[in-house]
Assembly symmetry: C2
Homo-oligomer: 339 residues x 2
């Protein structure tokens, strides 16, 4: 079983996932995708993956062909769903069992179409699958947060090229989310306004970093972009929880997401990228901390963050936490607008 | 000029270094090292770099051949030494000018020898060059911290293969250092002990993660390693400031550093890596904050952190701040001990 280990100096948790354990020789050659002969995400290979936990399927029985979007447990999960957390001290450190869920959302049965090449209606189905899994997993009180992300391209960490995204439920609020949530909470406590809404007001007025505006969504490059051509997709109306989106919301979001991914693909010729959905943690009234997230619906604002993987994270970035970005967000927005 | 921009949601600064500005086409192909015909770090090419700021040279005039270690300003500096900080608000953000220093330490005139292949005496000379630059740069009160790091191999961010390290002086304490310094300060306030000394006591007793012990230094894999085969090199005696090391200290440190780099090279066949020197910020009595770092000599403990670049940082890591490590630090230490 994986372990979560606490670093008392860096003040963060690390997941030691030894089930995927690798010895020195495993690092000597880049792992090659061995999928060309038989992709486990294609029609007819449903028995080569763990049994599906969800599928949008107009026809066919579970784990047969006929699906449009299919969600399965990851065959090599980072965290496992069976067991108890068992948080404990170890000398001056802390450790807990690697409990969680790790699912794969197969976005299309078509091996050769990327997410940006699906129709808005097809992308909306993928988004509905995300929503459905969020709503199901939050019923498990061991999971404090769900991370929905997509790795596109080998340099971005994708090991299979068939278009898919991943959902990992974790037993702790991750550091990046914890900082955002805390800062939004502090902002709201003083101003009774959402910090993201303030940011959107400023950016929509300025326009310098806006890539494309839709009636209810907007894509832009962040003012303090850590990476070249970094992108954000925000709902313009205040909304803390992605999983509460209606079908109509998701239909328009699909159009905005397709637009963002298509522009990126055109300007940078299908670059590797990661995107991550940032949303509020699930409500946990049973934890006996009724006030902890009591105003979350007012102070947090869900969004999607996208990072193209064009530059290396080197010693300076890793050692300091300062990122060096050679392309200004204003220039990046200009290139993306005119794509 | 570069800008430092504040991200109010992630609570960190980003360096937008547009002097190195890159347009979409620049990202389409990996930049190829064009150095094979003429390396600017080799003897005879001293005029192809900015003038040296320091050199250990038994013979020859400045900027001629005859040096053993040579320090020059980076030709494409991330931060520039000329100008004023000029910190200011911009809407809901903050911005300041990119003031700092960016130097390159050329570790040997020999194009074909890596740091691990130099003799301990030669490595000690490199360490003396580090010390000398730290002591010189801290006289500039605009610089709050100096980051000494090495990128080895193209995947680790090195653009020239001739062995070198870099030193960047920054106008702010970087986030990673700030967290360590704060946590050590809090630990000392309660316990009147250095947190690193406590950690070393525990690790030396346990031995599970110790790779090699020297009279005054020790190399080990951290309990909560974020990456496979991550390594730390600590002075065993409490010591907050690398720049106060004596020649005798540096002679033994050179032996320990060579041992660490050689083991890594043998076990993983010369992997790409980054190392970063973590040390106390320079004393700044003139800043009018006399108490801020008053106990730093008691509560901080300098060390070197090394990260081999074997696994990709993908969407999950970037989006959450949780790192997934497939190799346990105990296994890594065992492999490195027996190398």
């Amino acid at each position: 079983m994986s372990e979560l280990r606490w670093d008392p100096l860096k003040q963060h948790w690390v997941i030691i996932a030894t089930d995927r354990g690798r010895r020195p020789r495993d690092f000597l050659v880049e792992p090659e995708p061995s999928e060309i002969t038989s992709c486990p995400f294609c029609y007819g290979n449903e028995d080569k993956t763990p049994g599906e936990v969800f599928a949008l399927r107009p026809s066919g029985a579970a784990n047969s062909t006929g699906w449009k979007v299919r969600v399965i447990p990851n065959r090599f999960p980072v965290l496992r769903i069976e067991g108890e957390l068992n948080s404990r001290a170890y000398g001056i450190y802390d450790v807990m069992n690697g409990i969680g869920a790790h699912e794969v959302i197969i976005e299309t049965p078509d091996h050769n179409r990327g997410l940006s090449e699906l129709s808005p209606a097809e992308i909306a189905e993928v988004l509905k699958a995300y929503r459905s899994r969020f709503l199901d997993l939050r019923r498990d009180m061991r999971f404090r947060y769900m991370v929905l992300f997509k790795n596109h391209g080998q340099r971005a960490g994708a090991t299979l090229s068939h278009s898919h995204s991943q959902l990992i439920a974790v037993p702790l609020i991750p550091p990046v989310a914890a900082t955002e949530l805390r800062i939004c909470r502090e902002h709201y406590a003083v101003k009774e306004r959402c910090l993201f809404c303030d940011l959107l007001d400023f950016e929509l007025q300025s326009g310098d970093r806006v890539v494309r505006e839709f009636p209810n969504y907007v894509t832009m490059t962040p003012y303090a972009s850590s990476f070249p051509f970094e992108l954000r997709l925000y709902p313009k109306r205040h909304s803390h929880d992605f999983a509460l989106s209606t079908d109509a919301d998701l239909a328009e979001l699909a159009v905005a997401l397709k637009d963002m991914l298509s522009r990126l693909k055109r300007v940078l010729r299908d670059p590797p990228y990661n995107f991550i959905l940032h949303t509020a943690p699930p409500p946990q009234p049973r934890l006996g901390k009724p006030d902890f997230w009591s105003s979350i619906e007012y102070d947090y604002h869900w969004h999607i963050e996208l990072v193209p993987r064009l530059t290396a994270i080197a010693g300076f970035e890793w050692g300091t936490g300062f990122f060096i970005n050679p392309t200004s967000p204003e220039d990046a927005a200009e290139f993306l607008r005119s794509a």
